[in-house]
Amino acid sequence: MDPITIIRSRTVVMPSTNIDTDQIIPARFLTTTVREGLGVSLFADWRYDKAGQPKPDFVLNQPAAQGCQVLVAGRNIGCGSSREHAPWALLDFGIRVVISTEIADIFRNNSLKNGLLPVVVDEATHEWLLANPGVEVEVDLPACTLRLPDGREVPFPIESFSRYCLMNGIDELGYLLSQMDAIERFERAREGA
């Protein structure tokens, strides 16, 4: 994973509330056994018509959305299935930040594990972002701050250890493995071995 510090990008806006992970990546694409290549199937049922052609009115198909790395979504994005294929598909498409007022638990966790930044903001900021699609924003992970084009600085919460891992481009497995002595002690105490 590449270290994340500051991401600058225009936003693409999907105001729907409760965008579930079945929408982000429908179940029929989950028979894959690898992580790569899911971007083409991102939001497949919203994005393509019956013949498999891109629907021109769908936001991700519009020229303005190309190259956008920041997705602003309605409240409670990522609810439903635990499929990690959802952040994999978003990242493979080029999205690196998801902004909402609420982000579902498992999706948020899965995102953090893959370098997709879940950014939870207040209602007022969210409404402004929904009303102003395509603005250039700056997501500053070291400062936990979202900068809007009018100079506003909006703080966002992010779990401290996940932030450390993301800024250093490492995963949590190394840390967990470094705790092996404690894990073995715990097992011995419980299992009486």
Binding site: D45, D105, N109, Q179
Partner: protein
């Protein structure tokens, strides 16, 4: 000592390293269930980093999501029709063989939906921490376990270390008191709960379901309730273990025996929330006022009584879009809506008592002309029991399809699909757009409501068949 909740007790017992401002807690996992869809990439990580599965005795694999429900493809020597699914099934076999993981394979008589066979085999026990790369892992909380779904990266962490990094979640108490009226089921209770608190009402929380209506439920019913905790946004739902729990577990293959059993029960009896335990949030429902429920929209919180109408929410474009997808109009009556498909199955409602509830209505009756009724038992053991007890014959006599076990039409990964535009009364857990097939319109309801819809070919209050 401070009064503790059930969740806090189970959490505390599994903290290997306490959380600090800088690092989450290292939480020990007692049981890791794994399946074909969310594990291949995790095994690849083990390979890439030259790691082993740390605790084979705490890891159990099966296949359920992409497996066919067609007998010929499982036992008849026919290949799995869906090529990508066949590949995924083979990959799990290869991974389990390579790493030595105990696999309940395709033709195993113990196979079934992972959240049904864990309890069935007695692997699910009170006080355990249980994870699986599947959001409906919350089901196992019915036994007083702390059970939650994880992503594939975390599947890899648990395989390698038997631990996860976790911040302690908040707690939400949902009290359901009173006696459920006839014809109203556990499914209706949990749909009513989600309708009340919303699909995000439990986000960041572990739910404890409490109250006399919960205590009166069988384990099958408790599993239905905890199963759908995730539909309210809560990763886990829990119910304190009691005599009903122990009666269900005793004698099952993985359950403790002899003196170990007595010792386990004595320990499990200490798990209930203490009087005065504090919850971060609380909600209450009166069971005696509940009615059969049915969803009308594209998330499980969009639910009404089966005798009710689609609500009106003028000026809400997301709501309007959802109704447009469903082909319903605000204010419209749900009852009498014609349906084309009925699905009785899934980790929510495919246990033996669910099949009994459906059979009670289908016995001596026929599935309405033009309706396809698919009945998929939750496990091969349940299938066998239903056949031995004559339930399967009730279904086939009625004209329903009786299949091998698996997730099937809940998410259609195996090719069991609802066609675009069709209405499906389904006992599963999600009515998301496209969940059961592109353009499929899912109406979530109880097994009794699904069976009633199968007989009438319309959305029907199952109480019409009572007495």
């Amino acid at each position: 000592m401070t009064a503790q909740s059930l969740f806090e007790k189970v959490w505390q017992r599994h903290v290997v390293v306490p959380e600090t401002a800088d690092t989450p807690a290292v939480l020990y996992i007692d049981l890791h269930l794994t399946h074909e869809v969310t594990s291949p990439q995790a095994f690849d990580v083990l390979r890439a980093r030259q790691l082993q599965v740390r605790r084979l005795d705490r890891t159990l694999a099966t296949m359920d999501h992409s497996t066919p429900t067609d007998t010929a493809q499982i036992f008849g020597g026919l290949p799995i029709k869906l090529e990508s699914a066949a590949r995924q099934v083979r990959q799990l076999e290869v991974n389990c063989a390579e790493f030595g993981v105990n696999l309940i394979g395709l033709q195993d008589s113990r196979r079934g939906i992972v959240h049904i066979i864990g309890p069935e085999q007695g692997a699910t026990q009170p006080g355990k921490t249980i994870v699986c790369g599947d959001s409906h892992t919350s089901t196992h909380g019915a036994f007083g376990a702390l059970a939650f779904g994880i992503g594939t990266t975390e599947v890899g962490y648990v395989l390698a270390t038997q631990c996860l990094l976790q911040r302690k979640p908040k707690t939400l108490e949902i009290v359901v008191n009173g006696r459920l009226p006839a014809g109203v089921s556990a499914k209706d209770v949990v749909l009513a709960v989600i309708g009340r608190i919303g699909v995000n009402g439990g986000t960041g929380h572990v739910i404890e379901f409490r109250g006399s209506a919960i205590a009166a439920m069988s384990m099958d019913e408790r599993m239905t309730v905890c199963n759908m905790s995730i539909e309210a946004g809560a990763r886990a739902g829990m119910i304190a273990p009691d005599a009903t729990t122990y009666e269900y577990l005793q004698g099952r293959p993985f359950a403790p025996r002899g003196a170990d059993w007595d010792q386990a029960v004595a320990d499990w009896n200490t798990l209930s929330s203490d009087a005065g335990a504090v919850f971060d949030k609380s909600a209450a429902l009166d069971a005696s006022r509940l009615e059969p429920m049915i969803t009308f929209g594209t998330n499980p919180g969009m639910v009404t009584t089966i005798s009710g109408n689609v609500p009106e929410r003028p000026g809400d474009p997301v709501f309007a879009r959802s109704l447009a997808y469903m082909g319903l109009t605000a204010g419209e009556r749900m009852a009498e809506k014609p349906v084309q498909v009925v699905f009785i199955g899934s980790c929510t409602n495919a246990r033996i008592s669910d099949l009994e509830a459906a059979a009670a209505i289908l016995r001596g009756r026929k599935v309405a002309r033009g309706v396809r009724a698919l009945i998929v038992p939750g496990s091969q053991q349940i299938k066998l029991e239903a056949e031995q007890r004559g339930l399967a014959k009730v279904f086939t006599d009625a004209g329903a399809e009786w299949r091998e076990s698996g997730c099937s039409m809940c998410l259609g990964m195996n090719g069991d699909l609802v066609d675009a535009g069709q209405y499906c009364v389904s006992t599963s857990n999600r009515n998301f757009e496209g969940r059961q097939g592109i353009g499929a319109r899912t109406l979530l309801a109880s097994p009794a409501s699904a069976a009633a819809a199968a007989v009438r070919g319309r959305v029907t209050d199952p109480r019409e068949f009572l007495g």
